[in-house]
């Protein structure tokens, strides 16, 4: 069990680093969604499946979508002006 926690902790650190390291906002959004999945896995391994649910639904689905919409809206409105 402990090595599983260790692996997931390492993965979450790496995926979190990828969010910070990517400089293109769109890639950053996808990296954040992936980071959400890894964090959900971490919560699941630490026996908090209900938190894993919210993590997937909010950080991997809804918040990335809101960011993507915002990026699209910025692009569309830039053309408009």
């Amino acid at each position: 069990m402990n090595w599983l926690v260790g692996i997931v902790l390492l993965t979450s650190a790496v995926s979190g680093l990828l969010v910070v390291a990517s400089r293109v906002p769109r890639r950053q959004v996808y990296a954040m969604a992936a980071n959400g999945v890894v964090l959900a896995l971490l919560f699941f391994v630490l026996q908090a499946p209900d938190v894993a649910y919210s993590e997937i639904a909010v950080e991997s689905v809804i918040v990335p979508l809101l960011f993507l919409i915002t990026l699209a809206a910025v692009a569309v409105n830039k053309v408009r002006r």
Partner: protein
């Protein structure tokens, strides 16, 4: 201040920080060590006195239901503020098609995408409702189930496109659903007061352990939270998605007039 002096200042600060951090880390309890007496108490008592098997629900919807009512109000307030900000700038009228960057090719979507989105939207929505309904029995509950159900709406947009999304999902319905959920929670807190109990006191029959409808008032509060979260997230997604719609000629002028009025 030059770079040299900054580094010279940084070095002692780092040393002090390292010593302090090492002391705190060494004094910490072991990883996964059960620490909270509150948690152990709830784990021991909730199945007996509330007949539920999900302790998180017991804490959120019964022991600390008033806190959850506050969080629920915060969610509704935040969504309302977003709607006021976005719609206030954009206006309330609707257009038929989504906005598109000029010169960007429209690739269409394959039949497989449409089919998978239709199937998965149904499955995900039903799974969200399932998680809400089993809130007092299995891990999950109102917020989680509501968020899962709301994420199925995104699949409608992905599979059907903007105009169908606009036809199927209506802001008024989501707003009504959200308000109904909030009202149901507030009533669940207030009605016991009217009969001389404490606010949110669990006065309903508790049902039997591991049963779908165990937990008395918790079932109602849990469902209310689920409904309110579905409505809130639906309103939020709709409002954000409207930001990408195609601008109509003269849109900007209309907005300016509305802002002036």
């Amino acid at each position: 201040m030059t770079g040299y002096w900054r580094l010279a200042l940084l070095a002692p600060a780092l040393i002090v920080l390292a010593i302090a951090a090492a002391q705190v880390i060494l004094a910490m309890p072991a990883f996964g060590h059960p620490l909270s007496q509150y948690g152990t108490t709830v784990n021991a008592l909730a199945p007996m006195i509330r007949n539920v098997s999900n302790m998180v629900a017991a804490v959120n919807f019964d022991v600390r239901a008033i806190d959850t009512l506050g969080e629920e109000s915060m969610l509704i307030c935040a969504v309302t503020a977003t709607v006021v900000l976005l719609r206030g700038h954009r206006g309330e009228d609707m257009t038929e098609c989504a906005g598109r960057l000029a010169g960007r090719e429209w690739l269409g979507r394959s039949a497989a995408t449409v089919l998978m989105c239709r199937l998965m939207a149904t499955v995900v929505f039903l799974y969200g409702v399932f998680v809400v309904l089993h809130g007092t029995v299995t891990p999950g509950g109102g917020f989680q189930g509501g968020a899962i159900a709301a994420s199925s709406f995104i699949l409608i947009y992905l599979g059907e496109g903007y105009s169908v999304w606009r036809d199927v999902l209506h802001s008024e319905i989501f707003a009504a659903v959200e308000g109904f959920g909030g009202l149901a929670f507030a009533l669940a807190a207030m009605v016991p007061l009217a009969f001389g109990y404490a606010a949110d006191q669990n006065v309903l029959p508790l049902g039997s352990w591991k049963d779908l409808y165990s937990g008395g008032l918790m079932v109602i509060v849990n469902a209310a939270v689920g409904v309110a979260v579905i409505g809130s997230f639906g309103v939020l997604l709709l409002e954000f998605m409207e930001e990408t719609r195609a601008p109509k000629p003269g849109d900007e002028d209309d907005e300016d007039q509305e802002e002036g009025a």
